[in-house]
Amino acid sequence: MRRLKIAEKMRNLMAGYYMLGHNAKVRAWVTSGAPVEILYAMDVYPVYPENHGALIGAAKLGSHYSDFAEKRGFSRDLCSYARCDIGCVFAGTSPVGGLPRPSFLFACNNICNTVVKWYEVLSRIFKVPLFVLDMPFIRKELKDSHLRYVEDQLLDFIKFVEKITGTQMDDSKLKEVGTKSVEAVKLYGDCLRMAKNKPSPMTCFDAFINMAPIVCLRGTDYAVSFYKDMKEELEDRVKNGISAIENEKFRLLWDNIPVWYRLRWFSEFFESKNACLVADTYTNAWTGFSEIRSSDLISSLAEVYTVSYLNIGIERMAEIINWLIEFYEVDGVVMHSNRSCKPYSFGQYEIQKKLSVPSVIIEADMVDERAFSEAQIATRLEAFLEML
């Protein structure tokens, strides 16, 4: 596989991001789908335990750190991001030397209710305040009452942060951060959409590896400049006819969080079968945040963040996947049934029956390598690709 050069820049950028955290005055541990714009606008440094979990998975240290939590009584059936993150707190270290201690915690349940429980645990360990941003689940239509409920909480949250930091929210700064966030998300979306080219200049593995800035640095100049560069590299590839894999015969779509400790194994496996995973539902989830309007920031933050990909019914999820199938012209879908992520995985059996192309389900876990059965997964995937 021809890896993107930008990955090197990403590593440096993220190393810098982690370093910055240790010097920050006020730090919040925050969930991946929370409106981080408010934090950046109020000079609060956001720490992302989920990103940390992914990093631990990619370093193949999932079971190692999980063990620290399991020894304290946390069940192995709990989400592995949570288990590893809590494990690192008990271990007092991690591949990045542990996350800096939070001043407060900010959990938004638009991705799962697991984060509420996880952050409650953290709040008891660190003895710091926790703000839960409660998003109604939008199974069908988004009601005005739901929006009002979220808007009220966003205003409460601003007051909550003002009390902790002792400084008032500056509306013009929030606007500025919002504008940067939209700009980064648009550029990020442009990057992902480059995979529409045939052959594709990138795989979803490139998207996975390079997603950290859109998660952690959304709302800053860093994310804008990073995705500008990534877009340029991809445009160059298209211009010069450079494809991500040698011989793209099949185009596939990945569903669910990646199997972080097996990224290389999967990418080599698919390349050896001339299959290119051109896109995925996970990294696409962040493209929806481009609809933020600076004219009415709070209500548009409420709207955009409430209808995030995991906070909608499976009917709507299947529509989105079918749209991705059509846009990227894929021949099949590989669905990761992820033991750690119930809202992402339950419903896959039903979604599968609503898709316009064939699909296969493989069972594993995003971070815990003990839940990975190589022979079984390889056989399933081989049979699927043969059928295609």
């Binding site: 209710n113 697991t114 509420v116 689940f137 009220d152 019914g313 029956k353």
Partner: protein
């Protein structure tokens, strides 16, 4: 007509007042087979078992309340199977009553579209009936925790349920044994509770098949119209025995549980495998309970329970430790 529900936060009063029979769906003794084609094996066996039951044609519809992620997706799955479903967005964060009153208003409309009738008088009548049932269950449990009855009333018309509980109160005998606190989600098998009783414990609980079904703090006002009746209902359910799927200020659930455990000799976490909300709370609660000097044990359940022998051995060992 039966309307199935899964969670004790469901406003049964409204379902009942609309002219339906609110019927709590539990995993049964039947092995889970059909459901396996629709949900993964790492969903808890209460969800898988309930799905198995829900796949039959005996229900007019199903009502869900936002509680755990699994139930949230079970709504989608049942709809996919062609069932009539409705989910009430019960807030995860307990606090905003106005928001929940609006959710209940929307639910009333859904019940009407299902063929039900909603009126102030009927809602008040159902509120009154359930108040009576809850008070009688509280009285019964003060004498002797009777889980067979507590489970049965969740699947019985409320007027018949009241009569059943009255009969049980008349027959009940006060238990004089060291108390044990059972905490967890559901355990729809009466024989499991008998194991504790046979080992010489009197049972106190924090379960959806026990206290969490009937313990409420009632608001201090009399509803005068439908709107205020819905507000009454919202406040009643906000002030219900707490559940780990909800987020309370000041860690209210921990405080509640530690208080509940005060007069108990031991605490048993009776947890259904894969139940995230309970398993997240377990380690830190256990630590606090042990600091209080309580003996703590964890028993993991999977439905249908294949053998009660292992559980019996664990419970008897616990009894010996306490002696």
């Amino acid at each position: 007509m039966k309307v199935g529900y899964f969670c004790t936060f469901t406003p049964k009063e409204l379902i009942h007042s609309a002219g339906f029979l609110p019927f709590r769906v539990f995993a049964t003794r039947k092995p889970i087979s059909l459901a396996s084609a629709y949900i993964q094996s790492y969903a808890c066996s209460q969800a898988r078992g309930a799905l198995e039951v829900a796949m039959s044609d005996e229900f007019h519809g199903f009502v869900f309340t936002r509680s755990c992620d699994t139930l949230m997706r079970l709504t989608d799955i049942l709809e996919f199977l062609g069932k009539r479903v409705y989910n009430i967005e019960f807030p995860t964060k307990i606090g905003n009553v106005d928001y929940y009153v609006q959710e209940l208003r929307d639910f009333c409309k859904a019940l009407e579209s299902w063929g039900g009738e909603i009126s102030f008088e009927r809602v008040m009548e159902s509120l009154e009936l359930y108040r009576e049932l809850e008070e009688k269950l509280t009285k019964l449990f003060e004498i002797c925790a009777d889980y067979e009855t507590a489970i049965k009333v969740q699947q019985t018309e409320v007027r018949d349920a009241i009569k059943l509980v009255e009969k049980k109160i008349a027959e009940a005998k006060k238990e004089n044994a060291p108390k044990i606190l059972l905490t967890g989600s559901v355990c729809p098998y009466p024989e499991i509770y008998e194991i504790f009783r046979n080992a010489g414990f009197a049972i106190k609980d924090d379960l959806c098949t026990g206290r969490r079904f009937f313990e409420f703090r009632r608001p201090n006002f009399e509803p005068h119209d439908l709107n205020s009746a819905l507000r009454f209902l919202a406040e009643k359910y906000f002030a219900k025995a707490p559940c780990p799927t909800k987020h309370y200020s000041n860690d209210y659930r921990f405080e509640y549980l530690l208080k509940l455990a005060e007069d108990c000799a031991a605490v048993v976490f009776l947890l259904v495998k894969f139940c995230e909300p309970h398993f997240f709370d377990f380690p830190q609660l256990k630590e606090k309970l042990e600091e209080m000097g309580k003996k703590v044990a964890l028993i993991e359940l999977e439905f249908p329970v294949a053998s009660t022998e292992q559980i019996r051995t664990r419970v008897e060992a616990l009894r010996e430790v306490i002696e």
